[in-house]
Amino acid sequence: MIKKAEEIFFRILMIISTVAIAAALLLIIFSILYNGLPALSWEMISQIPKGGFYFGKEGGILNAIIGSLYLSVCSTLIALLIGLPVAMYMNVFMIKHRNTLNSVRFILDILWGIPSIVYGAFGFVIMIYFGLKTSLLAGIITVSLFIIPIMVRSMDEVLKTVPSGLLESSLSLGSTKTEISFKIFLRQCIPGIVTAVLLSFGRAIGDAASVLFTTGYTDSIPESLSDPAATLPLAIFFQLSSPVEEVRQRAFASAAVLTFVILLISIAARILSARYNRNKIKF
């Protein structure tokens, strides 16, 4: 009898939380679309702002779309190039040194937990030290620093699930550890690694605090790494704080664009990773 009541209780709890999460998500998307769609136009995504980002009702946010893409694609690539070898090193080469490995994980978790504004401030200090101005380059470096721990730890969590038997079998075949990393572990973990990259990309493109001091903001499209650049989150922030009603509405259109970009990249990556998924061994 009590067993049954318990089961019903937890089932109801599960249903309520699932509905709550789904509802919250739908509500967010709905409010973005409801407020943003009227302002969304071809002009909005194909032109740079006219009359300033703060008061301008004309033009679009092409500067922020391009800036955000430059910034997040470059920093995700850098973080991938550094993060993947590090995660592999941890799970193929360092497997024996369990205590060291645990400390490394602990430090990475701390780095993951540090708010992005702190990375922004750190990037700012470095910039001043090297005499750099607010620029795309400074932003890319800062955002890379801030997503590397995310990238490494989420790949690490996936690589950790590879059974030690696969490592032992591969070693017995006479593979070197580098071959094991990039020919075996990588194939086995491709879907998880793609998820890790996506997670990092999402953080990179969605973050406002770390780019505020480092990348700056501008109405034009950056032409080189030393130019400042606009980003979508900051565009939303500035537009929302405008005293002009139409500009505030444009903020929701910008949010819709940001959401759409993330959606598009997620879908593309899923399709890519599904092609490799079929070789994965289920242990």
Partner: protein, 255 residues
């Protein structure tokens, strides 16, 4: 009746401890060439550890201390300076359950050849077919060589892993309870294969199944709590064991 046999591997005074806990104590075993040597003993007595010492998978353990020697082809593999990956290629490993590589069936077999530098597609094709035939898998998979290995049944995967190991060209096959995850028919297939393979390879087999040991062993090593209690040719070992512990084990007194 004792015949003089050439040892393929000579293990002398091997001690191994992990975190100061002694796991193998003073092991002295000579593994005869082109024979099936069976390691017997109750759970936790160190059979797997001994097997892994032979191809230095113990390198993966934290805080491990090893002393003694394991001589293979006049080389002490525990203290050698030569490339350990080359030494490992002399020994194929078959583990308790199959761990196919995350690739196609073809990819699994050709992997070992490719890392050894074979590139020509024609040679690869021919070798893949050869080794799949050697483990009696060819007929079952010839139509789907490029399908993922994960789609095979566990018994097929185990035979695939054997073929994959053979493709690297080893002299020795180490097998750790290779039939424990298999149904009786697949187990029998593996056993029969071992009997054929011993013509060209030296086999070391860990098993829990006494009847299996009786069926295929040429030489038996009985271990208990990290020590070798008794060893000898299979016939002698099973018909007239000398030590009390061995007699008790053979009677099934402990497991």
């Amino acid at each position: 009746m004792t015949t003089i046999i050439t040892p393929k591997i000579k293990i002398s005074e091997l001690n191994l401890s992990i975190d100061k806990q002694e796991i193998l104590k003073n092991i002295n075993v000579e593994i005869p060439e082109n024979k099936i040597t069976v390691l017997l003993g109750p759970s936790g007595c160190g059979k797997t550890t001994l097997l892994k010492t032979l191809n230095r998978l113990t390198d993966l353990y934290d805080n491990v201390k090893i002393s003694g020697s394991v001589i293979l082809d006049n080389e002490d593999i525990l203290h050698t300076k030569s490339d350990i990956t080359k030494i490992r290629q002399k020994m194929g490993l078959l583990s308790q359950r199959p761990y196919p590589l995350p690739m196609s069936i073809y990819g699994n077999i050709s992997y070992g050849l490719k890392i050894k530098g074979v590139k020509k597609k024609k040679i690869l094709d021919e070798r893949v077919e050869h080794y799949l035939k050697e483990v009696n898998l060819w007929e079952e998979v010839r139509e789907r060589l490029h399908h993922p290995a994960s789609a095979l049944s566990i018994g097929q995967q185990q035979r695939l892993c054997l073929a994959r190991g053979l493709a690297v060209g080893p002299e020795i096959i180490l097998a750790d309870e290779p039939t424990s995850a298999l149904d009786p028919l697949s187990s029998q297939a593996i056993e029969e294969m071992f009997l054929i393979l011993k013509k060209n390879y030296t086999l070391v087999l860990v098993t829990h199944i006494l009847r299996q040991a009786k069926r295929i062993a040429d030489y038996v090593v009985f271990m208990y709590l990290g020590e070798v209690v008794e060893q000898g040719p299979a016939e002698e070992f099973f018909s007239s064991p000398k030590m009390e512990r061995t007699k008790a084990y053979l009677k099934g007194a402990f497991n």
